[in-house]
Symmetry: C2
Subunit: 178 residues, 2 copies
């Protein structure tokens, strides 16, 4: 990208070309859809049988996963709209805010995926020294749904790692260093 066709850089604002905008909006909308899917699968995840009954709300990690996916879905929608609707050029403050929020959402969703993955792992295999038995022998479909929700959550965290890369690249290349 040589100097001439580089978008004119106003010291305090940035003009995003149409392709950049649409590509990024698509990534954010995809993240929203995947977050909602992970969230809905987990929220509807409960079971009642001869062994007893358990619901996602009985497990702290799964409650955190639902909240993290909820926050992520809402933020993804708002940020996608912001990218598309904000009048060009986008100001440095807006780009910086997007950059920081993208990073925070990445960490929040990654942590949600990690804690729930650990819980699902323990539910499948238990832990003998700590006398935790496997729960999935009794609640197979509950574990299966939780696992699927965790996979969706990790896919969202990967998308957000990419979005964080894009927004740090945009912030630091397009604006003068402070």
């Amino acid at each position: 990208m040589d100097k001439t066709d580089q978008t004119a850089i106003d010291e305090s604002a940035l003009v995003l070309n149409r392709t950049e905008k649409s590509a990024e909006a698509v990534l954010r909308v995809a993240s929203m859809a995947l977050s909602i899917t992970g969230l809905v699968i987990m929220i509807k995840n409960s079971i009642s049988n001869e062994f007893g009954s358990v619901s996602y709300s009985n497990i702290g990690a799964f409650m955190y996963l639902v909240s993290a996916n909820g926050v992520c879905a809402a933020y993804s929608l708002l940020s996608a709209l912001a990218i598309l609707a904000l009048p060009c050029p986008i100001s440095k403050v807006q780009v910086r805010t997007l950059f920081l929020l993208d990073q925070v959402v990445t960490y929040v969703v990654l942590a949600a995926g990690a804690v729930s993955a650990e819980t699902v792992y323990l539910a499948y295999y238990g832990n003998i020294p700590i006398t935790w038995s496997s729960a999935c022998d009794s609640y197979g479909s509950f574990c299966h749904n939780a696992l699927i929700s965790v996979v969706f959550t990790f896919v969202v965290s990967l998308l957000y790692m990419l979005l964080s890369l894009i927004s740090s690249y945009r912030l630091f290349t397009r604006f003068e260093a402070p």
Copy 2:
């Protein structure tokens, strides 16, 4: 930082001033020290009493925490040495490598802290619907040590979030966009 006193930017390499180098090296050495501390606390964490015996190696999350802290400590040392020892100017490839590895280590350590935090939480409170009893009634000191190790790990992940910010700022501000 206006144009004149901005360090001369050769298109393909970067001159870091002495303060930047030392500050960053200190951050990396501090991360190394904290990682090693978290790792050693967890590795020495085992207990044997009338209830039975349990060691960190019986719990997958804690094994992951030890490995993640080990990788992080080694990487922190190497990257601190690289920052100090690499001949100036540092090339774009080196800066880019540092940037990517900083991001990866941040995610790896954050995930390690999250899965271990979940395990410690379950050990303290158990989960009745899944018939997991609290383990810390029987293995108090084991839980306590694990908790301290998890805290160290989260502090390391915070330091690496800062280091990731620094290295993305350095990569994108000091080199021409690809």
